[in-house]
């Protein structure tokens, strides 16, 4: 019943849009949340019976060419978690029932797109569902229709459209040379006719499209703008899954089991990864906006994944997926923290947020956990995945890249610690007499709201980060090391 991952959100989408009033508010939220929870549980415990069971009468309709493997399960899990967190955040941050309802609808569309992206076995279908996801996220960014949000959405739309032109061209060349565009056919042709010019061109063009989608330097221009302008709950979704699934995951999938990773491509990926890591980390160093800093940090962390992919060994691939997983968890957590601050104090400008450690203890502690994990401090999950990546690079003899990865983690630590100190651990300055926003901040919490959903999400993700760090051996053995079999 693999196709249920696509159909269940689809049916839910249809159901909640019936013209019945009681379905719109709380009910839609509960249904969506339980759907996401079900996805998380299914992906985590993956009962194999479930995947293979097809009643014969349904095979005609549900028998899509979909495939599930360990990589897909991990992705489904990540998608479920992040979407759930985003939904919880949205309940606390979005204003108005109508907007919340729109958010749920678009979240479900994005969910269908991402789940299908993870499961398809055909390059054009892949493109279609990338577009579905992207479309939902354009609208989500522009959901509140603020000035900046529209700007971010427009930039994302333009770059994303250019990426899709690249991918379409690539699809055309693949069709031309392979005669078919399923993964199996393309893989077959690529292994049998390795030297063909158009095949190489097709792979190169698709790679360009995916690099734009995943926001690797120098294709990253849209990313900080879109992330920082989107409503907080949408940034959570974007940073955690949308761009990762529609860019990075597909890179992982295609280069692990469809395309062949030639030495030239390896060099391209390694170089792109390394400059992403360094450039984005440097750019994050002096940011004044919390969300923008997180966006740059996100680029930098994606650089690690690309770097590992470029290394081209099974171990590095495992490291890449592991880092993908960890990054999705802790970056989502950080964006939830940002959402919490934005909602409470009305701004994410670091210069205006000061000494908030006592006013919002949960946010301050969980953000510290996430930041340390991002910087790769030992007992937390981020450390282990970076360790595996660096180890893989060393064993392949890529010492310069390994060194770059290590040094960049120091920069990561530097900007996050300075941020943490400024926002949370500083004693707040006495309120300036004139500045309106500043006094509002020092006056404290937004008392009319409760933030149970956000706090819930923060604690959930922080527990994941810590547990993932302490139980990394278990996770590595049961989830990630079997991925070596996928690599070619």
């Amino acid at each position: 019943m693999t196709s249920l991952f696509i159909f269940a959100p689809f049916f839910l989408l249809v159901i909640i849009n019936f013209p019945l009033g009681f379905l719109k508010g709380r009910c839609a939220f509960c249904l969506a949340a339980s759907l996401l929870l079900a996805q998380v549980l299914l992906a985590a415990f993956h009962p194999w019976l479930f995947w293979s069971a097809y009643p014969d009468c349904l095979r005609q309709f549900f028998g899509f060419p979909l495939a599930v493997d360990n990589l897909a399960l991990i992705m489904l899990f990540v998608i479920g978690i992040v979407a759930l967190v985003s939904l919880l955040t949205a309940q606390d941050t979005l204003a108005g029932e109508k907007q919340k309802f729109n958010f749920i609808n678009l979240l479900l569309v994005a969910l269908i797109g991402m789940n299908a992206t993870v499961l398809v076995t055909d390059i054009f279908s892949l493109y279609v569902f990338i577009e579905v996801t992207a479309m939902a996220s354009f609208i989500l960014i522009a959901l509140e229709k603020g000035k900046f949000a529209i700007e971010g959405a427009f930039k994302y739309l333009m770059l994303s459209a250019i990426a899709s032109v690249f991918m379409l061209t690539s699809v055309a060349f693949l069709l031309l040379t392979a005669g078919d565009i399923s993964f199996a056919a393309v893989h077959h042709v690529l292994t049998n006719v390795p030297g063909s010019f158009f095949l190489k061109l097709a792979v190169g063009l698709f790679l360009c499209g995916l690099l734009i989608k995943s926001g690797v330097v120098p294709f990253h221009g849209w990313l900080p703008d879109a992330y920082s302008a989107a409503p907080s709950c949408v940034s959570v979704l974007l940073a955690g899954t949308v761009t990762k699934i529609s860019g990075v995951y597909i890179l992982l999938r295609l280069f692990s089991s469809v395309f062949t990773l030639t030495p030239a491509l390896q060099n391209v990926l390694l170089f792109a990864g390394a400059i992403s890591i360094v450039f984005a980390a440097l750019a994050a160093l002096t940011q004044d906006d919390f969300k923008r800093m997180l966006a740059y940090s996100s680029i930098s962390q994606v650089g690690y994944i690309i770097l590992a992919l470029g290394c081209g060994t099974p171990l590095a691939f495992v490291g890449a997926v592991f880092h993908f997983f960890n990054h999705a968890i802790f970056k989502t957590l950080l964006f939830v923290n940002a959402a919490s601050l934005e909602k409470r104090f009305g701004t994410t400008d670091i210069n205006q947020l000061e000494g908030l450690g006592e006013k919002c203890p949960v946010t301050s502690v969980t953000s510290l956990v996430a930041m340390l994990s991002t910087a790769g401090i030992p007992p937390l999950s981020g450390f282990w995945s970076k360790l595996i990546i660096v180890m893989a690079l060393f064993s392949k003899g890529r010492f310069i890249y390994a060194g770059t990865a290590l040094i960049a983690s120091i920069i990561t630590l530097a900007y996050f610690l300075s941020l943490e100190r400024r926002i949370f651990f500083n004693k707040g300055k006495p309120a300036p007499a004139a500045g309106g926003t500043a006094t509002q901040i020092s006056r404290g919490l937004n008392p009319a709201k409760n933030f149970s959903g956000i706090a819930c999400a923060e604690i959930l993700l922080a527990v994941f980060t810590i547990a993932g760090g302490l139980g990394y051996a278990f996770m590595l053995n049961t989830w990630f090391l079997p991925l070596k079999a996928i690599w070619h």
Binding site: F124, M135, K147, E151, G152, K155, L157, V165, L175, D225
Partner: protein, 106 residues
């Protein structure tokens, strides 16, 4: 590949590349968001033609058509959403000049 097919492919390829240049130039040089979208349309047109050409050459016209039909549907939706975004950009800035959209930087 037979010579006449190769000839067909090469002159179609030339025009497709020229179409790409046309669209890219439009996106790069315009000061109007609607025109940027038109440039995008031209790019997609070129890609469409390329897919149909590929299907024709390798004898899978049916598959290519199926792909192109889906592609066209996606194209419309992209344009609708882009239209909505341009509309709001106009409401905020009283202009559809993309140069006005440079508040997010750094």
């Amino acid at each position: 590949m037979s010579p006449d097919l190769a000839g067909l492919f090469s002159y179609f390829m030339i025009f497709i590349i020229l179409l790409f240049i046309c669209g890219a130039y439009c996106i790069a040089a315009t000061f109007n968001m609607v025109r940027a979208m038109i440039g995008l349309e031209l790019l997609i047109k070129a890609a469409t033609l390329l897919i149909i050409l590929a299907g024709y050459l390798c004898g899978r016209s049916a598959l290519a058509q199926a792909i192109v039909i889906t592609l066209i549907v996606i194209e419309i939706v992209v344009m609708v959403v882009a239209g909505g975004i341009i509309l709001w950009a106009f409401r905020h800035n009283e202009s559809i000049d993309p140069r006005k959209l440079s508040n997010l930087k750094g």
